[in-house]
Symmetry: D3
Subunit: 252 residues, 6 copies
């Protein structure tokens, strides 16, 4: 694997992916030759038997694995997102949309002011996706130099979907399709039998308390797990797809 | 066609669909036996050779035609929506997402406070769709009685899509697929030859000025028009689909 | 009647008043020779026996009739305004002032950005008038080119008031003074006898529920109707006054 | 003059008008027998040759003199208001309307939470008046006990206007009509000859810089001063009118 | 025309300190030779037996006394601040932090736009101090010319603290340390015996009602008063310290 | 070390500290016997030669080590805070105060709604501290059950300060005092000689660009590093102090 972010001259061999593994001088050095950056966005919300951090853990990990060979720095994941529908499941937190918009505005404004001109937001939570409307608004503001923002929800990417579909077409919140080795919990036994899938429409008109009542486990049905080798296939598809986004998703 | 909103006793024959064709006493009378209401949402934005009001005109019309036999009142369309990407085309207006959220909050709060418990938002503009995230947030607020809100973008409904696909799969902003008799403009000649379709992704990273430059006519490609009988088939599918939403889209 | 917005050369005979009857190319063509635009603002609120849309219907209609011979385009009416005092009358909706300000900001910003430099807001609802304070604030922002905004509440215009006073000086919410053929409702019988007028001061300190209790019909007293000929005199005064505003209300 | 706010038993002779002349225990004692309070609102803005604090000084003073015999406590004047049109005159400050609304909300919420149920806002600046729209909104919020708020702009009160009209009907910003002994400045000579009055309409469409250019002295025309005995007549009318508002302006 | 704001010259006789004792022409004249201004900020909140206006009264007074010999104008004190913890004590008012930020933003923006480049905020209330975070944010906005803002809470200044410590190290809310002749109330007898001091930490986790219950008098313990000579020593230290801030606290 | 969060009966041996290592069922189980939670807050900002994530890394780590033996769950660190003064150093990001307040409000509201009644915010960045003013406001809102929030900036805790002072009293941004093994960067050489300390006051009146110019390395002076054994002493003091806060910092 070729790592690109070589710092401090020819002798430097340490390579950086995470912004938290860099200091500002190293980011400044990077900005002399590139203007891309990756911001993973997640959510802290119930995922049935899986980690409450599933969406943040996976988004950050897929971003880091994808960006590493490209030498593009990855910010820490924004761990909180929009998940009001899970409010009745303990441990789930949610930012109001009005708040979430302002957080994204501040981060985008900050990145732009420092010369980042191509920003890839790698999102891990479907509930965050409406913020793409705000990002379009932000992009359409007049500014001296063009800035590009790609908003990519990795788990709904076409390659990830295709990879998943070959195993099981029932992909639902907190079921096997989100059960990766890096967000499943040790010591937590999963039911062996699948549950019937509850369609998203059914819960779309319920408030948080009724959603909790309708989903005793929090997961929305289907199988609970698949073999690790299947999940690795899906994961690899996700990493490849995100890498392609970061590498070639930009306008000339 | 059976019209349901009969007012002032058995002798009354006048029937009401539009809220603007009623007074408050009539709405109060209606509330004694039903709790549904329809809010159409549109946009004032460029649609190539077609009316700047396309999204509002069609959303309001499809809502009215759908609701009429059900006797469910239809509010006036909210004529302004989120369309920052068209800002460089004269006559296009846009509310910021932070504004649009508050408008919807006020309207939903007002309707709820008056006893409307099943609210169907019939949306005519794809760019408005991120507000569905806010509606979920609103729905998940704790409240004494449950309220349901359906957010239905009529032009992307599965029946409308199926009806359109049988004629031409290239459906793009401001092309034939939006060219109905009620929003096309008299005296405006359309080009005879289709344009190549510009994919949405291409303009997703551009600012308003560059989008204008990339789309000289504002329409995004494909054919400009189809025969009225084809459009009527699509329209009928839209009316039927919206009616079904208003009639049976609710949880028990 | 001379219609000014002639499009597409000498052969064009179609004339445009409503923005919704135009496409962006026609507005762009208009902008080459004029920089005026009209925005009607209304409210969706109880008007006793009259239409819930009274303020929006009349504001839009008076604006269109006034602007037509001038060839100045008229936007669709903003149908929702500030009417918290009518909240207990079904069908009344209200935007908070904080929301209403932002809607106006977005619309004014959008119009300014497209080269509209003289904006006439033709308002049909007294409760909206405090937004004039915000418009002054907006006008006083520093900007490269001057922009003018006239905020004209048509129904309180001096000519309209003079025309009304000659018939009956008791003009109150939802009484005869607002009962025009275009917002009265077919099939709704009006009481024959006038009610005593409730002064605005009496309800100014009440909350919405107490206001409802104080005004059983929603109208604030006086006669319910006048002959159509009288109303036409008032209407003509309104159209003439609005036309004068649009035509000559601007600073040199 | 009877002073009502006698504290700490029959021996107490000290009387309180200004909240700043009381401690919380005295206000608590007052709340056992009354629920009224007065909030003066002013502005810090140019008044030609007169004090930049004219609107705050007069509003607070008229409120204190009016409330004193009634024993109703008077809060300190809010010294900043909405005056964007004077921004180009040094020393003028302005709160945006969105800010001003929130300040009033906080003050009203606070007063209500402590049992003040009849709140008289004595306003000294015309530019603040749009906030009355917000106060109506605040009043119409559902609450357990009714609260009344009177918004009275003292300088436009009918008795003040009548008293002024008997001397000179040309009352304009910063001219004689605002020139009281308590806000005129020692050592500042006034021009002897009146200026032509600039109508409010002329400056209504100008931005702050052009307003400054149009009004070299800041005052809007008419005479600069009148004899003290005339001004005392007007002042007495103002005090009497405000006192009546505080004493009898409330609903039963 | 005699201009009153003549400073530092042999001919100068009248001197202006308070902005409310000046007109705009005098401030304009001042701006030709200086760019400093002082904004006192206070709070309207319980201070035990002392005036509800303690923080505003003292901040404004110390600012005026400090600025007078320097000829730097002092704005009227902002009388309302952030004091949610005293909400259960009658007469206490509080702005939410979101409101307070916007008030400060508007005032700073206004001062900057008029050429004030060195702004000293003399604060009299500890609860307001978090706004310093916003001021830093405001200072860090990009702007054409540098602006400096000093945020100085006079009562916690090192010289004031040192002067106080020599008399009594128990300085707590509303005790002797805040009991100056200018904010103590005539006719209000103080307890002779000190109360045990309640540490700030104890009330930091309580809501307003519990804070009230924990502090029957509102003051937080220690002695109630000290001789006037002692208080004058502290006051003189405060005036000197604020003067030094206004005079020499700026970067070159 | 005793680990307390034992789940699923006597056989369960897995122990949880991080919320991201739990699912919602485990948090629900925890809520049956405890109501405490820890939220670390950091910042993404320049720290000279040290990691841009210093404040988030250390806050999360100290919280986890402190909470582990207590079995109190620790949320993921909020990685972004208020750092406008570092905006000119690449990689530094900042939320506006108005944004940061809303993020905290959403998180606190969410935690409260799920039954968390004692919330310890372990903060790692001095610039975030003004939010404590908002937390006080939040605490003072009326609510059915009391909620406690402790806001503890671990690096300024008295025990941490005492531990640091024994080695070197010059503790400044990004110098040795923040140089722990877990946030220093491999392969980055530090200067051997200390720099003179730049006092915080010097940069308090500068904008972001001038701050950058004044601090070529970003660190504010003093020594760059100390031996690991010294840092471990400080760290242990921090862990112990935070543990004490979480364990015994609450009111009875």
């Amino acid at each position: 694997m070729i790592r690109a972010l070589q710092l401090f001259g020819p002798k430097a061999v340490r390579l950086i992916v995470r912004v938290f593994d860099a200091n500002w001088m190293q980011i400044e050095e990077y900005l002399r030759r590139d203007d891309r950056v990756v911001l993973p966005t997640g959510s802290t919300e119930q995922h049935g038997y899986l980690s409450l951090g599933t969406d943040a853990i996976l988004a950050e990990r897929v971003a880091v694995e994808a960006a590493e060979p490209l030498g593009v720095p990855v910010l820490p994941a924004l761990p909180f997102g929009m998940a009001p529908h899970w409010a009745a499941f303990p441990g789930s937190l949610s930012l109001r949309m009005s708040t979430y918009i302002e957080v994204l505005r501040d981060l985008l404004d900050g990145l732009e002011s420092q010369g980042l001109r191509r920003i890839a937001i790698i999102n891990g939570h479907g509930g965050n996706m409406p913020v793409a409307g705000f990002i379009r608004e932000w992009l359409c503001q007049p500014r001296p130099q063009p800035v590009q923002v790609i908003y990519h929800t990795w788990c709904y990417g076409p390659q990830v979907t295709a990879a998943s579909d070959q195993f099981d077409r029932e992909q639902a919140h907190a079921n096997w399709g989100e059960n990766f080795p890096w967000n499943r919990l040790p010591g937590v036994d999963l039911p062996a039998e699948p549950r019937p899938v509850v369609p998203m429409e059914v819960i779309a008109q319920l408030d948080a308390g009724r959603i909790r009542a309708a989903l005793p486990e929090g997961m929305m049905g289907g199988a609970y797990a698949r073999p690790d080798e299947d999940m690795q296939v899906i994961w690899d598809a996700g990493v490849a797809e995100v890498r392609k986004v970061i590498e070639t998703g930009w306008l000339a």
